[in-house]
């Protein structure tokens, strides 16, 4: 029956929104009872499972977010970063300070220098002026690319892990655990080139986070993610924040902005850092 599937989907969506299993059960049971009593089809009475779950999660919102730890020490401080390519000024003097336990979002229109700024913060690109100070270990995830076509995901884990001083078994274990939180189980002998775009990005993300860096710089890493994984990704970000990491995410999707600690808008003309 269609309603059965709807209820099942509702259960999954509620889990995605981090409801406790007990709470989710209650919500599903109540919805089921309502459907029985009213005789209406689920989609008419409640809408899509996603929408209803989101509405429920929002109603319960303050109850489920633990009190946020006050932000800790400064983990990343970028001061007066400028960059031009030839005649074109890509970045006007820009500052960003991110503390442990904070999430900063970098937004702006296409081409306004978000990726460039992030790469400068990661130390992959030199600015024309300005300085970046990092306290701790850096992790960086590019928008795409960044993987070896012909290597297996596990080999990527080992490669990154060795750089951080982890032995192979540990690297593989950590990599697989991180992958699981993104609903991905790296199958045995599949080379990276045979993975779908979204899965490759999951690999990218796992590589960036392997070894628990203190600062995570993520450049729109969710390219190709399906809706569920996209939500999982943001859950991951909040969890990292709760663990005390400093995270910077370049994004042009605005729907998570009310939950981040800082927004840096690089669109020319709006230079404020809003909290």
């Amino acid at each position: 029956m269609i309603d059965e599937r709807w209820l099942q989907a509702l259960g999954q969506e509620l889990a995605r929104h981090r409801l406790t299993p007990e709470m989710a059960r209650h919500v599903v049971a109540e919805a089921a009872a309502h459907l029985r009593d009213s005789g209406q089809p689920a989609l008419r009475a409640f809408g899509t499972p996603q929408r209803y779950a989101a509405a429920v999660a929002e109603s319960l919102a303050s109850r489920h977010h633990p009190a946020r730890r006050p932000p800790g020490r400064v983990r990343l401080r970028a001061s007066q970063i400028t960059k031009r390519y030839g005649r074109r000024t890509v970045l006007r003097p820009t500052d960003l300070t991110v503390r442990a336990g904070e999430v900063a979002a970098i937004v702006g229109a296409n081409g306004c220098g978000k990726s460039t700024f992030l790469r400068i913060c990661a130390g992959l690109l030199s600015p024309d002026s300005g300085e970046v100070v990092v306290d701790g270990v850096l992790g960086y995830c590019p928008q795409d690319g960044g993987t070896y076509d012909f290597l297996l995901p596990e080999e990527h884990f080992v490669l990154v892990g060795a750089g951080r001083g982890l032995d192979r078994a540990r690297s593989r274990r950590l990599g697989r655990a991180d992958a699981a939180t993104l609903q991905w189980e790296p199958a045995g002998g599949v080379q990276a080139r045979h993975l779908s775009g979204g899965t490759r990005q999951k690999l990218n993300l796992v590589m960036a986070a392997l070894g628990d860096p203190d600062v995570l710089l993520l450049d729109e890493p969710y390219q190709g993610f399906d809706r569920g994984t996209y939500i999982d990704f943001w859950q991951h970000v909040w969890r990292w924040r709760d663990e005390g990491r400093a995270i910077v995410v370049v994004t042009h999707l605005l729907n998570q902005l009310d939950q981040v600690d800082q927004v840096l808008d690089l669109t020319p003309g709006s230079r404020e850092v809003a909290a």
Binding site: V133, V134, G146, Y148, F150, L159, A162, G163, M207, A208
Partner: protein, 224 residues
Amino acid sequence: MKLLTVAEMALRELSRRRGVLVLLLALPLLCYVVRHGQVGQSIRFLMLGLAWAVSTAALFASGTSRHIEPRLRLSGYRSHHLYLGRLVAMWLLGLAVATPFFTLVALDHGGEVRLGALAAAMALGVAVAAPFGLLIGALVPRELEGTLILLLTISLQVMIDPADSITRLTPFWSSREIGTYAVDHTGPEYLARGVLFTVVATALVAILSTIRLRTRLHLRYAGR
């Protein structure tokens, strides 16, 4: 440890690229067979083919790594881990490919050539070809352009009259000459030049890689 991991992964990656493997085996073989009639020529061409194949393999290896190496630097590798690791991998690969060809020549012309010198010549050829390929890869952004440069180098190598003094500048000249030494029993100064060339090419690769992967001056780690 880090160096070995880089080397291992480079080898794993290359071993899965069937096209490259075929190239590594078929090209030298073809070169050898084409001039099979004359001992000296066939061996020289074999050496050239071997050098060419190993350089190309090294070029491809550096091509795929281009975008990942900055990330690996962030993960904790130093530049020398990365290029030395790759270099070691290419040397091992080259030696592994050279061995069957050595055996082939030994079986074919064992009595006529100095086998010891031949082995040295092949080893040196590989030793030069690997950093040369990595160097081209470091200089040129795309594999296609790199391949063309290698092709040009080989063509020059073939076309230049060995007596002409310009030949001393070509990268594979030394191994060619040692081949001559092995086959035609000429003098040992060629060995010295080959070694010199290897050292120079390796140094250039090292410098270029370090520059590309340098810790940018604008980024400072607090407390260090």
